[in-house]
Symmetry: C2
Amino acid sequence: MKKQQSSTQQTTAITTSDSDKYVYSFDEGNKDMKMLLGGKGAGLAEMTRIGIPVPPGFTITTEVCELYNKNNKKYPSEIDQQVREKLTELENKVGAKFGSKDNPLLVSVRSGAAVSMPGMMDTVLNLGLNDETVKGIIKNTQNERFAYDAYRRFIQMFGDVVLEVEHNKFEHALQKRKDAKQKDSNHVVNDTDLGANDLKQLVADYKKIVREETAREFPNDVHEQLQLSINAVFGSWNNPRAIAYRKINDIKGLIGTAVNVQAMVFGNMGENSGTGVAFTRDPSTGEKVFYGEFLRNAQGEDVVAGIRTPQPIKNLANAWPKVYKQLVSVYKTLESHYKDMQDIEFTIQRDKLYILQTRNGKRTAQAAIRIAVEMVAEKVIDEKTAVLRVQPQQLDQLLHKQLDPAAKKKLQVIAKGLPASPGAAVGQVVFDAAKAHAWAKEGKKVILVRTETSPEDIEGMHASQGILTARGGMTSHAAVVGRGMGKCCVVGCNEIKVNEKQCLFTVTLPNKQTQTIKEGDFITLEGSTGEVFVGKLSVVEPELTSHFARLMQWADKIRRLKVRTNADIPRDSEVARKFGAEGIGLCRTEHMFFDADRIRAMREMILAGNIEGRKKALAKLLPMQTSDFVGLFRVMKGYPVTIRLIDPPLHEFLPQEEEEIKAIAEELDVSIGKLKDKIKSLHETNPMLGHRGCRLTISYPEIAEMQTEAIISAAAKVIKEGQSIIPEIMIPLVGHVNELKYMREVVEKKAQEIVARENVDMEYKIGTMIEVPRGALTADEVAQYADFFSFGTNDLTQMTFGFSRDDVGKFIPEYIEKNLLEKDPFEILDQTGVGQLIKIAVEKGRKAKHGLKIGICGEHGGEPSSVEFCHKIGLDYVSCSPYRVPIARLAAAHAVLKESR
Amino acid sequence: MKKQQSSTQQTTAITTSDSDKYVYSFDEGNKDMKMLLGGKGAGLAEMTRIGIPVPPGFTITTEVCELYNKNNKKYPSEIDQQVREKLTELENKVGAKFGSKDNPLLVSVRSGAAVSMPGMMDTVLNLGLNDETVKGIIKNTQNERFAYDAYRRFIQMFGDVVLEVEHNKFEHALQKRKDAKQKDSNHVVNDTDLGANDLKQLVADYKKIVREETAREFPNDVHEQLQLSINAVFGSWNNPRAIAYRKINDIKGLIGTAVNVQAMVFGNMGENSGTGVAFTRDPSTGEKVFYGEFLRNAQGEDVVAGIRTPQPIKNLANAWPKVYKQLVSVYKTLESHYKDMQDIEFTIQRDKLYILQTRNGKRTAQAAIRIAVEMVAEKVIDEKTAVLRVQPQQLDQLLHKQLDPAAKKKLQVIAKGLPASPGAAVGQVVFDAAKAHAWAKEGKKVILVRTETSPEDIEGMHASQGILTARGGMTSHAAVVGRGMGKCCVVGCNEIKVNEKQCLFTVTLPNKQTQTIKEGDFITLEGSTGEVFVGKLSVVEPELTSHFARLMQWADKIRRLKVRTNADIPRDSEVARKFGAEGIGLCRTEHMFFDADRIRAMREMILAGNIEGRKKALAKLLPMQTSDFVGLFRVMKGYPVTIRLIDPPLHEFLPQEEEEIKAIAEELDVSIGKLKDKIKSLHETNPMLGHRGCRLTISYPEIAEMQTEAIISAAAKVIKEGQSIIPEIMIPLVGHVNELKYMREVVEKKAQEIVARENVDMEYKIGTMIEVPRGALTADEVAQYADFFSFGTNDLTQMTFGFSRDDVGKFIPEYIEKNLLEKDPFEILDQTGVGQLIKIAVEKGRKAKHGLKIGICGEHGGEPSSVEFCHKIGLDYVSCSPYRVPIARLAAAHAVLKESR
């Protein structure tokens, strides 16, 4: 079996494996035995197998863990026997003896399940020490301080993990010892300042603690130490922390952890010892250079703790040429063996190099792409593997401005909202859209801060570097528009209180003090984390490399899903084309209605008392809409363009504030009373579930007729220019087949009229959004009148969960914190619930109409796991905001590759 | 085959029937041949078969209709042959000859499908007249006027139906003829004033019209007349009106209409002729007396037209003893044959009685019950049949005040809203709840008129005779509360504009004038139709008879579904017990929070900045809630009581109006600013999809804890009083299993604590409402933590359709008018969409937990077709407002009986 098997298969395999063998030396296993030996055990075995210098040891299998936990924490004596045999083998390999006072063997005992669960289970180091063997260590190392330091660390770890003595009891004793010394020496005392004698005394202190806390002596018998530690590790498989971790990370089908017993090596045995971390390529840029750092006379944890500053790895070349040469050879062996950039932990014990661990190294997006593309050139991996090496979500880093990671540490985060649209933004705070626009014209960089945004704010949002709102969820207006513009946006930041009138916002800091940020103050936003900083931070501009272009080409060859974009205006759709969009999946026509000259006509229409009045106002909008669509069609050069008819409730076009009402009444030449009456009559308790979408055009078919005329005559125009275009007209919010049937008749009649008038040969499609649960449930009926479906997963999520996207900010963060929801369903498609409806709709829709074209145009269309879901259930395309198009392209390729594995 | 077959079966039967026979004499058929002969044909055949005096005739089968319409409006010549043979038979039976100028036979040609489609298809009377045969009629009747009247009516009807001449052309000619006569005679001229000569001239006029309009002569050949009429009737099966009717009424599986050709009889042949309508029992009271009315020398249409006043049927006994005796015998024969009260049309032609039609008579609810119960006593029908004879919805008439039907005609309907809660109400208009309360205390009868109601209005609603709102749908606050109180309620009456400040409402009348109704003016509401009248109408009090009690006993023996009630307070639940409720399916605890002393504590809780403050305020509510539950438990005497934890968003408890805010800030001793901040921070864009239901108690578990303590300690108290009670605690708005899991832990912990404290042996259940689509879709997961499910179909309908119940008033009426929706889904459960989710949830829930108890507590629980659906899919109970309990009981029995048929 070459390939790694899925957990279920392997579980079966175990039951048929040689059931008498429970313990494997590292040289008996390999990397494919993860299920039996755990990830760590299989990795150590693999390195041993290919000749990497790994401290020897053995692995007790996961089967033993299962036996142990199922059989009341006991297992057959034959297992003890096998452990003892392997221990003897180990003694022979190392040339030391477990429990010997002359040349004692020390071992580590570590957990390791088939799937990594970092920090969840127990580890014991330096095992094998007691009052006798410590002397052997002193003798061997000629370093009494080292020996007692190792001894006291062992007691502390064993006491904590195996004997369940409270951790801080030991810390307390250590502190007391340091305090005493400080009193004597009159200067600050660190751990490192404790001498051999201090540590020897500390060993006595620790043993006393163990005696007092457990009512027994610390076990001197090294075999008892080992036995108890193994048991503790097996037991830790079922500690509440580990159970919760597996549940949260959906880790299933595992029977337990393995236990690895390995000879200890020490980097702190003096100046001829050391420890380090190395990467086979630069994890930041991807450049093919050796990278990493090391510390002399230190243990791994010292590198992490950051007390001493490590040296760059290249210094090893001069300082430790033999070791360096050996390390370079290990680098090469491991990278070519694992065919990926490796992150390696090593220890040098008395000039001898040991590799303790290797794993695929974490890297930035830029590095991931460069490494993948260069490894293909080096013929290490193939294109498909390269594509899989870059996580789609990582691309966000490349497509948007980023905070300089170094700079980020300089300022305090004063508040945190939802990460609605990635990127970084620095600018002066303004509280209204008009001012944002005005200041930006003056050349200022501004950040628009509002309680929430509305369609009227669009121009101001466009003029801003970034947007911050106190309310709203991942699909609120600000979030959707921000993403569409590729603009940094943080929403639902409940901690800030925005006072638009006084032009300020306040935030309560952790120290309970209130900080006030006024108009003109600088703030910095981090859209990928939702963080808000006061002040200016430096920002790194995005850069698209040739490596990126190459990788995306490969992805495009692989994927089956088409990727379109959600764009309303030529400017945005040009960006999307640049990012590789293959059409427009959603053009929200109402976004065109908010320009100053257009909204006036909209308002006239709304205030008209009869159909003639409405038609008169609509006639003013017609040429503007037509030229918008001509622009879109020209940019999209023959790619499909789906245009959704008007969706929002009419009251969104009317003013809300007293002053504005006055001004607009005057502008429209109607009485304030009449305008207010209209506003009152259009008021809705739950506008999301109100008079909008097709419900609106069913009441006022003349709006749909005007829009249809604009679409068809625009298409006719570009066709006459010699370009091809098949416009797709989309009816929103259909929950009942009769709604679509009615609207289809209205649209079709007008479309045919315009086609005849323009005298062009053209095709067009009429379809619907599936965004109301009932629409999905009755998709077989709906499909009879639809040329295509497009899932509006924002609304579908709202209605399936009963979550208002504008109001969830009040409880979704709490839900996630309390583990009631794993993810915000407006961000990651809820496959269990909402996905179930989508599947029902796809099945019923295609059953009623074979080959029905189906896509998704909700915000989930650019989220990798959701894209994979769309691929699996057989959609034809996904559509997302322009800046997410590359992510969707890559995710769509991943979906194909994951499926074929 | 004794039983009537379902359409599908019969369709099959036809294809295998004797395919050579297309025409049946009335004496060849029977009542079971509806699919072949149509309802009318089968009825006439059946009456003929059992010796009722029916004018002879024959039926051309529905198969011929199918042949005709499928084969380009032609059929095999053998059919003509069969018609001619039957015509000859008919001539022999009548003793007259078709087309004879001496003794001509006249016939009617009528449609008649298997399912009645009144008025949808065509009819021709008096067929067989021409310039020759009319002379024979004159000779036979010695009544020239009669003959020409019959002739001109025939031309008009034939012209209209067969030749498709516009109806009003003939009307116009008639009017001209009358005008001419009036000019001569100088007094008003009615149809009856036209003499033989006038009518003879009119015949000429009519023929001229036909000539001009159709470019051909009126056909003189009686066989051609017959042929064309038969074809016209067959053709009318597919006229748009008939197609629409079948669609609307969901009539499927029929192949066409039959055609009945029957010898004409005339009630207008002189004083020895007449016509009438008779009922075998009083259709108004159900009393077993002969009932009906007749007119001498008249045709059926004269009775309907109401120009002359008919005499009561009992007058026949003296006036026409022989006929009366014969009619009594027919009565008895038909009623005992059809085993139901009959509605009979008869004609007396020259002292000879003919029965033209018999059918089951329409009747009031009171009559339906009395007839059904008395027929059981008479051993005519069995109890099951009796139960099926009363339509559940009819019971509304018995349970509520009704407008006196006679009085109703006296006033004009000024507006029409949604019929939210049945009954009638008369009272003086008031515009606020406090005034309603105050006026009612003074002994005035008031009707509360508001734009919409809110929970604060409850006491005022209770004090009113009825409620009228301008906004809201069938499940709006006013509607739900109105039904719960059994109070007449009309909602969503868009035509009225309510101005609460000026204490008036206006309505635009059909003549475009605006009528203003001020505070103190009297209006009358009809809750079953949604009609609003200005002024006072007399009202009939409801009365529950012993017949009703008997019928309900029988229904209870039959039904499988339990019927509970939705009630929040002991008063309502006592009413429900009286109506037969077997427990409470939904107690909305928040309704208890709106009393003056309680809402203060609620507000204190909302304004508290921390958990301690909230707990302090909740402690004030605890004793009040406890005593409420004690009251409920005592009334329900051991029946199950399901109590839903707090559901509405907190902002519903805070004031909205400036003045009120001031007053309440003062009352609570907080600053106006703080109160306003809270109101602002609780504001939601879509409260229906916001922070409510379990989302609220997840944020503030202390509320659920207080409610749990109240429920369990109340239960403990009544148990100690010696009564049994198993409280069912219901968690609302669960969309994800983790919500229920979390809340179950909170509730269970507190419940166990109280059980231990009270030291009683008690059981309790914890379940959930399924009202969020996702909850239904993931019912298998949810069921793991639920002891029961209860479908909240109001919210489920809202979210499945995406219809806000508070806002649908703006478009649902239009949807129904445009035939996009057949029914308001808040009134009649949408079985296709919402019902699909319910089925999914029942299946998944019971699969995960065998035998899971499942009910419904939405407003649909009292609607007959929805109750039948609940029965079919295997729910355990339905729960509805108290006044609907009898309806649900009867509907549940019907469901069983329909199933077994």
